[in-house]
């Protein structure tokens, strides 16, 4: 039982990270109907930028550690959001009215470009996040010792998700994003500046993705330039699992996928951990292609 609960908590931590990345996929898919393959690499860039800011720029020496991490968190989110914004301008906006395949190929190109840009800038080796960044307290919970960092990661991702949820549901801009996702043409007729909304989505999604990259760095302690592929594909799986284009769906899908993966790794075989996510993806697409919460895209399949 204790092992089970530990695995669930571990899964929730990883799942929270998947969910943050999945939000970027699902929001972009919602407004552009495009799989933004480069999103996983924006996540990688977040992890590397975080390391650079913390270590090379010695922010962790200037400020107390928790404060430094928080500051870097915000800076990374802003910087990666900026990169996402530029990416949309350069690689996707010219293709807005071209075929969908063109945009997908452009996205793949962007992904390869970013991945190799990171490799050229930082080198191909694995980077290690310094130990002292990792909060090393443990918490007693249901009679178990739970690493504090795990709870912090879960809390941070849930807080970010709730913030986004409130933004989308409660503000006028959030309503505009939802409107563009449902029907861009009609939204434009209602006086919504669709281009600006798309730019905004490309700021929010990559911002969350970059923050998730930093969280992976702190949680697992090491990063490498190819990690965007695997996290990106799994996050996309999570987005489909929850119902692509659906924001609460991406959150639910991410957490669920994380837990499924952790349990499968714990009880079946750790070597097959990565395959399980894809098996889940294939099964969900066969059984319920709209995902758990997806309804709207049913007619398009």
């Amino acid at each position: 039982m204790e092992q089970f609960l530990q695995q669930v908590l571990n899964g929730l931590a990883v799942g929270g990270i998947y969910a943050l990345v999945a939000l970027g996929y699902t929001m972009v898919y919602g407004v552009l109907k495009l799989i933004n393959f480069a999103h996983g690499d924006l996540f990688t860039i977040g992890a590397y930028l975080g390391l650079t800011l913390l270590v090379s720029c010695n922010l962790s020496g200037l400020l107390p550690v928790p404060l430094a991490v928080l500051a870097v968190f915000i800076m990374v989110a802003l910087l990666v959001a900026l990169i996402g914004f530029l990416l949309e301008r350069a690689a996707y906006r010219p293709l807005r009215h071209a075929g969908r395949l063109s945009a997908v190929v452009s996205a793949l190109g962007a992904s390869i470009f970013f991945q190799n840009a990171v490799m050229l800038l930082y080198g191909a080796r694995v980077y290690v996040y310094p130990d002292f960044l990792r909060p090393d307290f443990t918490v007693h919970l249901f009679g178990m010792n739970v690493p504090g960092v795990r709870l912090l990661v879960i809390a941070a991702s849930i807080m970010l998700m709730l913030g986004l949820w409130a933004f989308i549901q409660r503000t006028r801009i959030g309503a505009a994003i939802r409107a563009v996702a449902i029907d861009p043409g009609a939204a434009q007729l209602m006086g919504i500046n669709v281009d600006r909304i798309i730019s905004l989505v490309f700021l929010i999604g990559p911002g969350l993705g970059g923050a998730a990259g930093l969280m992976v760095g702190i949680y697992y302690g090491q990063i490498d330039f190819t990690m965007g592929w695997s996290y990106g594909l799994k996050a996309f799986t999570a987005a489909i699992l929850g119902g692509i284009g659906n924001i609460p769906g991406a959150m639910l899908g991410g957490l669920l996928l994380g837990v499924i993966e952790a349990l499968a790794a714990g009880y079946i075989a750790i070597a097959w951990k990565d395959a399980i996510a894809f098996l889940v993806l294939i099964l969900i697409l066969i059984i319920r292609p709209t995902g758990i919460l997806g309804e709207r895209t049913a007619d398009k399949l």
């Binding site: 997908v104 190929v105 190109g109 990565d274 395959a275 399949l301």
Partner: protein
Amino acid sequence: MTRTLFSLALGALICVLPLFCNAYWTDVCVMIGLYALLSLSLNVILGQAGIFHMGHAAFFAVGAYTTAICNTLYQWPIFLTMPLAGAAAAFFAMLVARPIIHLRGDYLLIVTIGIVEIVRIALLNDVFGLTGGSNGIFGIARPRFLGFRIVKSIHFYYLVWGMVGASIVLFYGLWRSRFGRALNYIKADDIAAEGCGINVSRYKLTAFVLGAFWAGMAGTLYAAKMTTIAPESFNFMESVIIFAVVILSGGSQLGVLVSAFLFIGLPEVLREFSDARMLVFGLAMMLMMIWRPQGLLPPGPRRYPVATPSAAAAGQGGRS
């Protein structure tokens, strides 16, 4: 007309190319041939039928491993394993594609990526105790043809490019056939095709299985050339490269050859910048989609000899 001339020139160049190459460059050309073969087979699926399939490396891997296992464990001659490798890949393709073939474009794309990852992980985990885990399989024998042992790069060059030539002829026939027209129709508008009585799922599945069969046979050639295969040779990046070759080609067979040369050959020419070559590759994909989204050489319009009176008087066939 210029295109016919260009094709002939390219064909002639391919025939005599190894005479001017040292062993290294011949090897590079063998690799270009293998990628051309894979891309031609993917062209049936992606270029002709418009199925977004990014997992071609999975079928390539199944073919290569079938050959490797049959050869190292049961000492089958390489050429005998070739149809079996194709059949194994085709069977695998049918198994995985059947439940997913109806999925819409980008969903299918992501599932095929999933398949290629599952295959790679299965190979890494030494599935059935046959694949040798991360080390792969080594000691694959050289192929023999009527007592002639194919060892040198130049032998492989003619073997691989001969296969490419045969594939081009076969796929051209396929393109001209009723089947090829149906695939193009599905690509243009699958709902209209369904409305005209084309069984879209069946045709898509057939195209998929056929492409996989060819990729499996390419796997045989790869295993024979390398004599060692490992899971990392069949990762997702390989699928992306094959996919990109087909997309950038525009869908014509000539385009596939040209873009295979560009994609595989050019990075070898620019060896000094080898670190940055994937960077340029990604950039090229983005720019290409912005400036020339139809690809390098999209297939020309289909021509039908329709004998209308005026056209017959002018002594030429009309264009449909």
